[in-house]
């Protein structure tokens, strides 16, 4: 498959495209806010099947800037024990992509912040990638994070569907990613770049001083066109603040999922969690 035809597009169409991109809530967020952006991940269908909407609403109410909704997968190879367990429980509860889309169909009547779906490629592949992208656009999803979909595959097979539906596919970089590869990812990225804090699966719970300061600084000085959020191992105010020194903000997943695991009152506990970070 070739995407060379984009080079032949008329400038007016390009302008239209750029305008569309600006309408994507992720772009709007980064345009309006350059520091201390807090993104929170949770697994859809956990702890209970129908908690999805309430969790999203409470997160927005408490000042979270961006939400990553986890699509649970049976084999989450990029995730540590916390998200493995929440995914397993969510699937046992009966969560599926069909059901998640059904739960989210009215979400834009009450929630305004950008929403991202995060998960693994196989359930999306089975749903049909084009159908998935269309459904996301219909609901008002702004982006996806699919850690087991490599850049080259994305470009060759799927990018056109994402672009047609104004959906950003967020790509990841790690301390091992070479400078030339970071440039390539920056070129092909829209929305933001997900900077994995250290070589790790999620929830590794590293200490602040374990982060690769030189890697953070190197990327910071590369003048990338995309903003960056730092994720993996961010769990509290100290790690969040540290990450914010090197990027527009940070992403918290496992620590929040842990809070939900032990929560008896979402309203109180979500508010308490967000306050403990910001």
């Amino acid at each position: 498959m070739s995407f060379c035809h984009y080079q032949n597009e008329l400038p007016s169409i390009l302008k239209e495209k750029n305008k569309q991109k600006m309408n994507n809530r992720i772009n709007q967020l980064f345009q309006n806010k350059q520091n201390n952006i807090l993104s929170i991940y949770f697994t859809a269908g956990f702890p209970n099947l129908n908690d999805t909407i309430e969790i999203i609403q409470e997160l927005e109410k408490n000042g979270v800037d961006l939400i990553e909704i986890g699509m649970p997968f049976s084999d989450p190879t990029a995730d540590g024990p916390t998200i493995q367990q929440s995914s397993e429980k969510a699937l046992k509860n009966g969560m599926s992509l069909n059901l998640l889309f059904d739960q989210l169909k009215e979400i834009r009547s009450s929630v305004n912040i950008p929403l991202i779906l995060m998960g693994y490629i196989n359930p999306v592949y089975q749903y049909g990638v084009e159908r998935f992208c269309k459904k996301c656009a219909e609901i008002g999803i702004d982006g996806t994070i699919l850690p087991d979909l490599p850049l080259d595959e994305f470009k060759e097979f799927y990018q056109s569907y994402f672009e047609a539906n104004n959906l950003h596919n967020i790509l990841l970089i790690t301390p091992q990613t070479s400078e030339s590869r970071i440039r390539e990812i920056d070129k092909s990225s829209s929305g933001f770049i997900y900077m994995v804090s250290s070589a790790s699966t999620t929830g590794a719970g590293k200490k602040v001083e374990d982060f690769h300061r030189d890697y953070f600084e190197k990327v910071q000085n590369m003048n990338l066109k995309n903003p960056r959020l730092i994720g993996f191992g961010i769990s509290d105010r100290a790690t969040f603040k540290n990450a914010c020194d090197y990027a527009s903000g940070a992403i918290i997943g496992s620590a929040f999922v842990n809070t939900l695991t032990h929560s008896t009152n979402f309203k109180e506990d979500i508010s308490g969690f967000v306050k403990s970070i910001l």
Binding site: S74, T77, N122, Y125, A199
Partner: protein, 372 residues
Amino acid sequence: MMYTNIDELKRRYLEIIESEEFRKEFDQLLKNYVGRPSPLYYASRLSEHYGTKIFLKREDLNHTGSHKLNNTVGQILLAEKLGKPRIIAETGAGQHGVATATVCALKGLKCVVYMGALDVSRQAPNVKKMKMLGAEVIPVHSGNKTLKDATNEAMRDWINNPVDTHYIIGSVVGPHPYPDMVARFQSVISKEMKSQLLEQTGSELPTRILACVGGGSNAAGAFYHFLDDEQVELIGVEAAGKGVDTDETAATLTVGSPGILHSSRTYLMQNNDGQITEPYSISAGLDYPGIGPIHSHLFKSGRAKYLAATDKEVLQAALLLTQKEGIIPALESAHALAALEMLKMKPDDVNVINLSGSGNKDMETYLDYFGY
């Protein structure tokens, strides 16, 4: 997430394994350490029983009792050249774990083996062997606690340790270059078959080759040098478990559909939502919900044919070989033997069975079932 790990391997594996230095060392170890070439044995009483000619490629006689060592010897040499001091592996039945722990002992490298907690308790003797060989065995408690979960955990380890660690995958699965690399290391099986067949039958081409398929490494090795010899029938035999029409099966090509798992696009056992379902087989070594992409390709192109044998058929086939030839096969290999019942074979046909492993590890299962 594994891009950097895989990229290094992808860029360097061919140049390394095709170098003369590597070939020399690999061939030496295969000969003097693994014990190759493995015999090609004409099974006369089994042949008489089926009214055809049956040869057994005796991979069960390799050091550590299976074909698995061919691959781990190759990969440990590669890890050395890549300068990786730490080795990780996944294992189901424990054969690949033992083969990995063995080469790590041979080279003095640190070895960590991930094994589903259920398999740890089912395959206690192999766990003890790995420990005696100096490996650390980590029981995996996620999912259904079997091979797939062990593979997930090994991948997580690799993501967490991208610099000093080489991951020795045990089959023709996982991201490129593993399916190709493992098939190359196992291809010594079909290379030897050709010269042994020429010597014993006057032709290097048999009528057909049969091999069991889980991930599919022994089958890939047994088919490799015959792929272009279109007249040679290639037959892979999957584990039907309690039957392909039940939920307790591991026959991926029969019941599965295309999907993406462990960085491979291949046939998978999955539900309509793309969640991977748990396979079942009496043989822990075939208990994988996917299949090497090589086999998906051979299946779709029609170059190879794939059958499935049930636990019951497999146990009977194992008993038949034991009592006709005095060879107790691994449960995995007995799947290939069970397919003999399903084929129409002519008296002059030359059938080669890849006897991938020894039944030593399965004695408890056999004794329980047959009541000896």
